[in-house]
C-alpha cells in the first residue's frame, strides 16, 4: 500500500478524516514503520510544546482584569461625567441667575410701597442731604431757613402722611431763583406727589403731598447733588442737548436728589435731577414717579451704569416723557400733560 500523504496523516492525527478513511489509515499506520514514526514524531513534537505551557499567576490575571475594569466602566464614567457636567451647568446657571438677580436688585430702583416711613427715618434721610448741600451753599441763612422748612415738612409729613404741605419762603425764592426768577426749589421724594409751583412774582411754592407707604428723601436746592457728577457735558446754562434737553448743570436746573432709603437698594445710589425750563407748574404724580422709576429699573436691568455716568430721560412738550431718543437712546413715554420742557437726569454714583 502506498503511504498516504503527510496531509492525510496529519488529518488522521487530528481526527479530521471521514470515518471511512480513518479505519483505512489506521490499518496502514499499524503496518508502516515510516508513517508510524512520522506520526509519533509529530505527536511528540506538538505534545511537548503544548504541555510545556505554564499558566501565569492568578494575580497577573487579576491585574489584567483590573485594567479592563476601567474600560468596562467607560460608559459609567461617561455617565458620571455627564451627570457632573449637568450639575455644574445647573450650579453655574443658578449662580448666574442669582448674581443677575442680585445685580438687578442692587442696580434697580425698587419702590417699596409697603415701607412706612417713621418720623426718625424721614429726618435721618433728609438731614444729611440738607447739611451737605448747605455746606456748599454760600448763603447759609437761607439754607438754615430751608432746613427748618424741610424739617417742618417732614414733621408734618410724618404726622400726617397724606397731608399736602405748602411751603412759602421769600428767601428761598430769592436764593433759588435765577435771574429770570423762574426756578423754584427742588424736593426729592419717592412715592410722593410733588408739585412745583413757581411764578415770577410769587415766592417759590413747593407742595409736597406725601402719601402713605412713603420712601422719602428730600433735597432742597438747585445745587448739584452731593458727591454726584452733575451734567454730561454740552452747552452752558440752559443749553439743550439731544431733544432739547439740557445736558449740563445750570443754576436754572432744579435737581432732585434721591438716595434710596430702601434696604433692598441701598447699594445703588443715584441722583435724579428734574430739569425744568419753564415757569409753569409741574405736577408729578405718584403714579408717574412709579412709572419713571420702573423705566429706570428696566434701563438698569439692561445696562450697567458706572459711577459718574448719567442717564438723561427727556420729557417733551407734549407731556410725554420723551418720545424722542434720549442721550441713552431710550424711548420712554409717560403721558403727562403737565410736563413741559422737562427732563430727568439720573446720575449714578
Amino acid at each position: 500500500m502506498i503511504c498516504p500523504s503527510k496531509e492525510i496523516l496529519l488529518a488522521w492525527i487530528d481526527k479530521e478524516l471521514p470515518v471511512s478513511e480513518i479505519e483505512t489509515i489506521s490499518a496502514h499506520v499499524e503496518k508502516c514503520t515510516d508513517c508510524e514514526n512520522y506520526i509519533l514524531a509529530q505527536k511528540k513534537m506538538e505534545t511537548v510544546w503544548r504541555n510545556a505551557w505554564v499558566d501565569p499567576d492568578e494575580s497577573d490575571f487579576k491585574t489584567m482584569r483590573s485594567s479592563i475594569e476601567p474600560a468596562t466602566q467607560w460608559w459609567r464614567r461617561q455617565q458620571t461625567w455627564f451627570l457632573a457636567a449637568v450639575i455644574c451647568a445647573a450650579y453655574i446657571g443658578v449662580k448666574i441667575f442669582y448674581v443677575d438677580e442680585e445685580t438687578r436688585s442692587l442696580s434697580s430702583i425698587v419702590i417699596e410701597q409697603t415701607i412706612s416711613a417713621t418720623h426718625e427715618d424721614l429726618v435721618d434721610d433728609v438731614e444729611p442731604v440738607i447739611q451737605e448741600e448747605s455746606e456748599e451753599t454760600v448763603v447759609s441763612e437761607e439754607t438754615e431757613n430751608m432746613d427748618d422748612i424741610v424739617e417742618g415738612q417732614i414733621s408734618d409729613v410724618s404726622s400726617e402722611h397724606s397731608e399736602v404741605l405748602v411751603i412759602e419762603d421769600e428767601s428761598m425764592t430769592e436764593h433759588y431763583s435765577d435771574s429770570e426768577g423762574d426756578l423754584p426749589v427742588d424736593i426729592a421724594g419717592i412715592n410722593s406727589d410733588v408739585s412745583f409751583a413757581s411764578t415770577e412774582s410769587s415766592p417759590a411754592v413747593v407742595q409736597v403731598a406725601v402719601q402713605d407707604e412713603l420712601c422719602f428723601a428730600a433735597g432742597t436746592s438747585n445745587l448739584p447733588p452731593s458727591g454726584g457728577a452733575v451734567g454730561t457735558g454740552g452747552g452752558g446754562s440752559g443749553d439743550s442737548g439731544i431733544g432739547g434737553l439740557p445736558t449740563q448743570e445750570s443754576e436754572n436746573d432744579v435737581q432732585r436728589v434721591y438716595e434710596s432709603p430702601c434696604e433692598a437698594i441701598l447699594s445703588v445710589t443715584y441722583t435724579v435731577s428734574i430739569v425744568q425750563q419753564s415757569k409753569e407748574t409741574y405736577v408729578i404724580q405718584r403714579s408717574d414717579w412709579d412709572s419713571l422709576f420702573s423705566i429706570i429699573d428696566s434701563l438698569l436691568a439692561e445696562k450697567s451704569y458706572l459711577a459718574g455716568e448719567s442717564l438723561v430721560l427727556g420729557i417733551n412738550s407734549d407731556g410725554f416723557i420723551s418720545g424722542d431718543e434720549t442721550l441713552d437712546g431710550v424711548l420712554i413715554g409717560i403721558p403727562r400733560t403737565s410736563y413741559e420742557n422737562c427732563s430727568v437726569i439720573v446720575y449714578f454714583r
Binding site: 496529519l10 487530528d14 514514526n37 514524531a41 511528540k44 506538538e46 501565569p56 490575571f61 489584567m64 468596562t72
Partner: protein, 199 residues
C-alpha cells in the same frame, strides 16, 4: 431585600455561559466580567503563543477583551463565543505583531523537505530531549508567518477542530488544512535543522 441580595451575589456564579452571554450582550458588565474570567487564560495563551512575549501578550489580551466588550452588543448568541473571541485576539495579535515590525518569518516551500525528511529525522525527534524540543518548536513557530502561526496555534495548542479554526479565522476548512499542513511541515523542518539531525 435579602432575596435580591442573595440573587445578586449568586447570579454570576450560577449563570451558565449562554445566560452570561445574553446578559453581556444586553450590556451587563458583571456578566461580561464573568466571561472574561472564563476565557482569560485561553485568550492569554493564544496571545502569548503568537507573540512569545509576556508583556505583549498581556497587552494583546487586555486589548482583545476591551474590543470584545465594546463589540459585545454585535455578538449573536447563536454563534460560539470562543470562536468570536479567538478571532478578536487573533486579529489583535496579528495587528500587534505588525505594529512591532515583522520578524524574520521564513516561508518554507511546501515541497521543501516534505520528501526530504527521512525516518531518521523522526527518530531524532522522538529521542530528542524534551526541553530542547520545546525550544526548537517554539523557535520554529516564531519563524512562521502570522497566518500560518495562528492556524498552528489554534490547532496544536488550543486543539480546535478545522471547522472551529475556519470559523475563528473566517476562512474555509480546506484553507485551514492547507495552512496547517504548511505550518507543520515548516516547523518540523526548522526543528530538524535546529536539532542538527537534518538528513
Amino acid at each position: 431585600m435579602i432575596f435580591h441580595l442573595v440573587y445578586f451575589l449568586t447570579a454570576g456564579l450560577s449563570a451558565s455561559e449562554p445566560e452570561l452571554l445574553e446578559k453581556a450582550v444586553s450590556g451587563n458588565k458583571e456578566a461580561f466580567g464573568e466571561i472574561v474570567k472564563m476565557y482569560e487564560k485561553r485568550v492569554f495563551r493564544v496571545a502569548r503563543r503568537m507573540c512569545n512575549c509576556d508583556d505583549d501578550a498581556w497587552d494583546i489580551t487586555q486589548e482583545a477583551f476591551i474590543k470584545a466588550m465594546k463589540a459585545m452588543h454585535n455578538f449573536k448568541v447563536e454563534y460560539r463565543f470562543f470562536t468570536w473571541m479567538y478571532r478578536i485576539v487573533t486579529n489583535t495579535a496579528i495587528n500587534f505583531s505588525r505594529s512591532r515590525g515583522r520578524r524574520s518569518e521564513v516561508e518554507f516551500d511546501e515541497g521543501y523537505g516534505s520528501g526530504g525528511l527521512t525516518s531518521t529525522a523522526d527518530t531524532a525527534i522522538k529521542e530528542c530531549n524534551r526541553d530542547l524540543l520545546v525550544k526548537a518548536v517554539q523557535k520554529a513557530i516564531e519563524q512562521l508567518s502570522p497566518a500560518l502561526r495562528i492556524v498552528f496555534v489554534l490547532r496544536v495548542d488550543q486543539e480546535l477542530s478545522y471547522e472551529e479554526i475556519a470559523e475563528s479565522l473566517g476562512i474555509a476548512t480546506g484553507t485551514v488544512m492547507s495552512r496547517l499542513n504548511r505550518a507543520r511541515n515548516s516547523v518540523k523542518i526548522f526543528v530538524v535543522n535546529e536539532l542538527g539531525c537534518a538528513p
